[in-house]
Symmetry: C3
Subunit: 676 residues, 3 copies
């Protein structure tokens, strides 16, 4: 399912405003070309001030004004932050974690399995759905908000977990064996003896509990979806704002939610992408975040939250807000919605600023949105519902991410860093990538990157083998195919079941000290390059050795190998090195294996992203993510210019750019070209 129009919008909370200004705000939005607001997901205590006493006056005010000003509305169900009276009555709802029971105040710190909590969630959701029924402006619903299971280990939740284990392992001895519970006398000889999960030192068990908590989230969202669906019109949609692993901003695959599974109950995927701007804007988070969001329903997606001013340190330079908006569209987004319309005047997130600053007056940021909204209005026939399908894909896996959390390679090399190493290298060399999962059909990608697939069932490994055997080119990262689904390391040569296709195996690995990478460049000259954090001592059988170790004691081992397997190939990366060398190796695979991918001559900060418009014309975006101007030399087919920096060309115009032509891209600006 797709939205009907390009959504430009923001989260909007009249409840948080220092004074009543709904109409004033909506006038301002309208003038700027903002057409959508997102409301309601955090204001349960306003809708239900006392147990079973409801007050939806503010909801009606906002919705009727939205209808007056012709704004679309996405309504969020309000269950991620609960009223104080609910916890006063039922303190058990609060999550119990390793640190004890949570205290009321924050959000997403409940035991989602608590039946009382569920009961109250259902009632407020039903009431809210009833109240909004009559408003045509409501185009869809967001379930909860960045849902979390809060590491809850309340006894009820733990019982459900043990039940799930019992069902999976009717034989308790098999359970003990699979999880290695003999270690340190941790055997559970009858299910009644199952100890408090919070104390476990068993990485497999701990990972299984994390998986269970992800399933709890999937179940909770499906529970909300089933309620919402009872009240929905056929033209409305259900979505959710999935977010990403976080380290001051979005950095990779979200470890706490199984997004593809959780998205099954929804119509359109949604996401929250946050990134640095200012000197540090690269477009990378928009790219990988967009690829993940696109993968959830294999379709266009909504950016439900992204920063306008955002955190203090992110304040964008002039032009960056506009550049970011186009970057989302170039990844396949059908919306750009900000967190949030206005900045907040107290509570906790006062310095997570919105479009308007605290003075609530039109500002530089507001006018920049107005500028691009006007442009997009002219261009959206070509830009909306961009259809993307890359020739290369990256296979992501949450069990492997958890696996490397439980059994870290190295405290400074996480799963997401390895993913980002591969993604960012591709991004900077302008090789667009999709995201796939072990359940996906990835057979028609030319090139498949597999970062640290630490946890791989035999079935998954068979699927990778089949990919290669039918002509795929696999770039397999270190630590892949090492353990099974419960993180039990395969007691065999590594990479498990892949040594023949890789043409090498290993059993020794270490952190590099006094060790560099020795590798051949494209022209075959050997040179030395830095490596860090991890090396596997590969013993090649029939692979080509593409890189070795510069260390007298490890000199006979391989570092990177490559082996042709029929028309396919496997390139195995046995260590972690710099993006420059990874880029060179990717080029080498493409050239030597004649992979049907054309390498681009442009390089970051010039970024090219492509897709097909709804009427099946190729659309090419060319971005300049830098403070200096860049040149773009066109070298393929004739394309029409839709946007030349700040100049919008008519869709039916004839401003054509021909091979050999050169276009200038201003700092933090872009070009959009289209098939004629």
């Amino acid at each position: 399912m797709k939205v009907k129009d390009l959504l430009i919008g923001a989260a909007y909370y009249t409840e948080y405003m220092p004074y009543e200004r709904v109409e004033k705000d909506m006038q301002l939005m309208k003038e700027a070309g903002i057409n959508t607001i997102r409301i309601a997901e955090s204001t349960w205590s306003t809708w239900e001030p006392h147990d079973n006493i409801f007050d939806f006056s503010k909801l009606h005010h906002v919705l009727s004004m939205a209808e007056k000003y012709d704004l679309n509305v996405i309504i969020g169900t309000p269950t991620y932050a609960v009223p104080s009276w609910l916890i006063k009555k039922y303190p058990d709802i609060m999550a119990i974690t390793k640190h004890g029971q949570e205290i009321y105040g924050g959000r997403q710190h409940f035991d989602l399995t608590n039946p009382t909590f569920r009961k109250y969630c259902e009632r407020i959701t039903r009431r809210l759905m009833e109240e909004q029924k009559k408003y045509k402006c409501v185009i869809g619903f967001q379930l909860d908000n960045e849902t979390r299971a809060a590491n809850a280990a309340n006894s009820g939740t733990q019982q459900l977990f043990v039940e799930s284990l019992k069902q999976k392992y009717p034989d308790i001895d098999e359970f003990n064996h699979e999880f290695g519970l003999d270690y340190w006398s941790n055997r559970v000889n009858s299910w009644e003896d199952f100890p408090d999960i919070r104390g476990t030192i068993n990485g497999s068990l701990s990972a299984a509990y994390k998986k269970f908590l992800r399933d709890v989230i999937t179940g909770f969202l499906a529970f909300l979806a089933s309620i919402v669906r009872e009240y929905m019109r056929p033209d409305q949609f259900i979505t959710h704002n999935f977010d990403y692993a976080w380290d001051d901003h979005s950095v990779g695959l979200q470890p706490l939610v199984d997004q593809p599974e959780a998205a099954e109950c929804m119509d359109i995927a949604g996401c929250d992408i946050y990134h640095e701007s200012n000197e540090d804007l690269t477009g990378i988070e928009i790219d990988f975040g967009g690829s993940i969001a696109r993968s959830l329903k294999n379709d266009n997606y909504l950016v439900l939250e992204t920063a306008c001013q955002g955190l203090t340190q992110w304040l964008p330079y002039p032009g960056q807000i506009r550049l970011q908006a186009y970057s989302h569209l170039a990844s396949g987004a059908d919306s750009v919605m900000y967190w949030h319309w206005h900045s907040i005047h107290n509570a906790i997130e006062s310095y997570w600023k919105g479009i308007l600053s605290h003075d609530l007056k039109p500002n530089r940021e507001y006018y920049e949105i107005k500028e691009y909204a006007g442009e997009m209005n002219k261009l959206k026939k070509s830009l909306l519902h961009l259809n993307k399908k890359s020739k290369a894909a990256i296979l992501l896996d949450q069990r492997s991410l958890t696996g490397l959390d439980e059994f870290p390679i190295n405290t400074v090399l996480t799963y997401n860093q390895i993913f980002r190493w591969m993604h960012d290298t591709c991004y900077k060399m302008n090789l667009e990538t999709d995201i796939v999962y072990k359940e996906s059909n990835f057979s028609d990608y030319k090139l498949l990157f597999v970062p640290a697939l630490y946890s791989a069932s035999k079935e998954t490994i068979e699927k990778l083998r089949a990919y290669v055997q039918s002509g795929g080119h696999l770039i397999l990262g270190f630590k892949s195919c090492f353990s099974d689904e419960e993180l039990k390391i395969y007691p065999d040569s590594q990479p498990f079941m892949m040594t023949d296709l890789v043409g090498a195996s290993y059993s020794d690995f270490t952190y590099p000290k006094n060790t560099a990478l020795l590798l051949k460049d494209i022209s075959g000259n050997e040179y030395k390059a830095p490596l860090s954090k991890w090396i596997e001592l590969l013993i090649p059988s029939d692979a080509e050795v593409w890189a070795r170790y510069d260390n007298p004691f490890w000199k006979d081992y391989a570092a990177v190998t490559h082996k042709k397997n029929g028309t396919g190939s496997v390139t195995y990366l046995g260590c972690y090195f710099e993006e420059k060398e990874l880029e060179m190796l990717i080029k080498k695979v493409i050239q030597e294996e004649k992979v049907n991918i054309s390498l681009r001559k442009e390089h970051f900060p010039v970024i090219i992203k492509e897709g097909m418009s709804e009427n099946n014309k190729k659309i090419r975006y060319i971005f300049n993510y830098s403070s200096h101007s860049e040149e773009y030399c066109h070298d393929t087919d004739n394309l029409k210019v839709l946007l030349n920096n700040n100049e919008v060309l008519p869709l039916d115009g004839n401003e054509v750019v021909r091979p050999g032509a050169t276009l200038k891209i201003e700092p933090w600006n872009l070009l959009i070209l289209s098939e004629i």
Copy 2:
């Protein structure tokens, strides 16, 4: 109220001694010129070994010996550390914090509002007051010791807090609105639902609780004062040893106690100043600590604790103990009392050494005190009760300090750092500053520095406006006038209600990256200087732009502005830069506005401090805080030399220093001059 004589002394605890030596110690004190001891504030378990069983024999021994050796005694009430039996009987007295209930052992970790605690405090205080009544040597009383509210969130305390909110906000909706509790569904729709404050994520509420705990301290000290006052002679005084924000030593305004309010129940202000010595002695802590202490009763004050040897790393170089003592006097102190006479042989503070080392023998430090005590005895007629009134003041505000704790500018730029930036720059350029508060009358200062007055009521802002409008010169720091008293950000152009006087406004701010300061020096030449941590993008209306940003995207914004307002002026500092540039800007204000403050040519490490003696003669101290000798070139009126390095000149002598004369100051030494 002032003490009658200069007090040179130390804390003294016969209870902690490895063997009985009261008489021996007092002989040594007497010989050194030490005339005062401070006793009793931490030995409740000695006075009352079992519930309601008392033993004051050690008190009587010390007091009678003090009378024999003619020592003054200040008695501390012993309530900051309680006997083990009290907690065994009433465990609820221990504070409950975010980390659970405190365990007995430390000090100042009680719930000060606990009625049982109060009852026992009253009984021991009354008994102690009875016992000491007959001793003439007792000159005053110290209430408790560096009182703390221990972050207590016991349910009784929380109830009192909610009561205080109820009284302030009879309308609970107004309360919710003012505190922004709609955010994340935190509304409290009836007072009974008030959630445990320990969980709150609301910065305003958290700050209000901190304020409430400061009021608890004020109330507790007033409660003790009222008891003590029942037993006092008219010539005796009540004081308290207020301390400062701490980061290995005293670093700024104390966040946990409202000192001006708490001091209202006292007769003389007291303080504990700790600082580094050795290579790191600067006199800065003595200066700002003294200024704060002086501000509490607008009078001379007592230094009740300061380091002699202090912490291991502070061991003073020869001469520094003496230099420090004179530095206190030059700030208006009427006492120099050490923590403590003797070093401690076990427990916890064994390496917080006193005057005597662990061997309890006269040592280098003892003889240095003896040296300066002898000098001061000759000079004290001129030095005691120094009357200080500076031409410049710094406005400090505790709500703003808390505000920036709750809503940090940046993890590395605290309120106290901004205060210290202004203070230390003035100190080093020999511009003496007083400390004032928003309640103070600061109208007759020529220059008023306002560091980050983040929380400012409209009334306070009006007061600042009036200051400028009647000819004052205001140097207003970034982040000032931003939020109201409950930390609610003003929804208007910033700085709120000041944009006309500032002649500029802003709504964007960020952390600087690739950005420097471009400013004009005194001669009007533009140069570039480093800045860090914070920039506000000022849009000037009718202000002079005194500094801009060296960044292509921020080049049109102002960084520092200046605007004449009648005979007054406002200089607004929109970013954080180095002391050198701040010094230049201060000079520029003084010169361009012809402020009636004469700039000194001496600079740190030569420090000049002045005041008026009791008989109304100007006293000038000239200190050398360095390991090399310095020269002082006299250039104003004829003054008489009282102290020339280690030589005491007769008070009625005629050693006059005339303009043009040059005096040498030895390393870590000083001169004292006096009006003739």
Copy 3:
């Protein structure tokens, strides 16, 4: 007691294997020359799956196979990790610490004094002893595993502690006085008021509790020993794997166990030595760890655990496993046993690898063990039961270690660092050292190093005095003889009772800033060297000043002094400086005092270790701990070559190396020479 044969072995757990392979494993061991396995200490939940239901089938399987393959077995009692059902039934067994009650899952987190725990420990131990009785292959028993008291402060444990204090101090006032409990009103006026030890701020009390917990361990091991002894054959032994202070690997004296006392119930001392390899292999941990283990029974000892591959970062270079094994023997070990035979496939320690990697196939590491096991088999007649007695010793003291934990010199200078400073300097200059304790007879050592003997009873100080007065040469480190056994600082000149023998005293100390060391080299030329972290300002009376401080204010104090006392001497090190200077000072003592120790010309990475073989021939090992080859120039008596790098010479051969001869030592290789 000594083992009869050289033990080469590994911990072995069929319980942890991914599939049954006991016979396969034992065949592999046998082929490699591995002759011993250690089993059973962590598998209580396998032996006793339910309360009082036992299943020893796996034990019998392993033991009967061991008999078949002629392997020695050491059986561990399984009490350090308990079954889940035990804690489900008796949750009180879990330790309660400052952080609350431990949760089941880890190991060694029980209250060892809990009577129920003891009862269950006794039953499982008796049952295990019964079951193994019939197997001749069992050569000995290991009690528990690296026993810990888990910082338990359960109320029962605390009561026992208070009882122990009551017995030691019948007069509670004496107790208060000795511990300085008057401080901060911490007095305990009746034993019933004794507060929860977890809250104490009294360093003496905290240290006494740590001592008490060490005694709890001693008692627990003695309790287990008494049970095991009931079932033992006379040829069997009791041992325990004592470990060391840990900081990513073994780093010094274990603070949590009183090893000499705990070893009293045992027949042979055992230890677990872990160290870095690869670029960071130095042999230092093997040396000091061996010296400590040797000191426990003053005899040969067993290395029960050491790393083969070990942690990922330790992966040894080719040759290092072999070099390490010989290094243990050269320290007096009679075994080299690895943690563990196989790597683990899940649970927690999957990346603490054993001999075999996860593929469980013979590998580089396996073949390297096979290589040296073959060599040792030929040489063991000469190498087993090496008798070592050094001319120098280092006096270690656990109360001083705890003392410096409670009262840190400096957060970056711990007791073990000071010990290691002295040890490592000696090691690198090839001056072998033994370890002694204050209870030891150390009178016949030529040179005695005393690192930071912070806690020293008068009796101990008298013993040091007697050592010097009868001709010993004492190198006394700073912070020695400072406090008594309860950490009460002596109220007298420091170092207490030693100022006459030292010829200097001090009462001031600090951290050095702008201060260097000025000292004379062997030729008498003064030079400047860096110092850091700690300086004592020594006032020399009649000592020679061997080093002073380069600081204008401290220039009159001494930094290092030396004083002849009859035929003995005391060298006092008043500060912390670099190993180079310490080495020079040690040489100076030896030369000036004509100490009967011959200084070697070899220096690290060439390390020489010596001892006497069973048939009383001198054995000399010469190691090269580096990646380059080294030369060894023989310069004393004629010795026979037993091992020349990888060449084993016949024991009855005549490959003699004469003075002046030069032998090459390959990288990470060694020579063994023997008296003819």
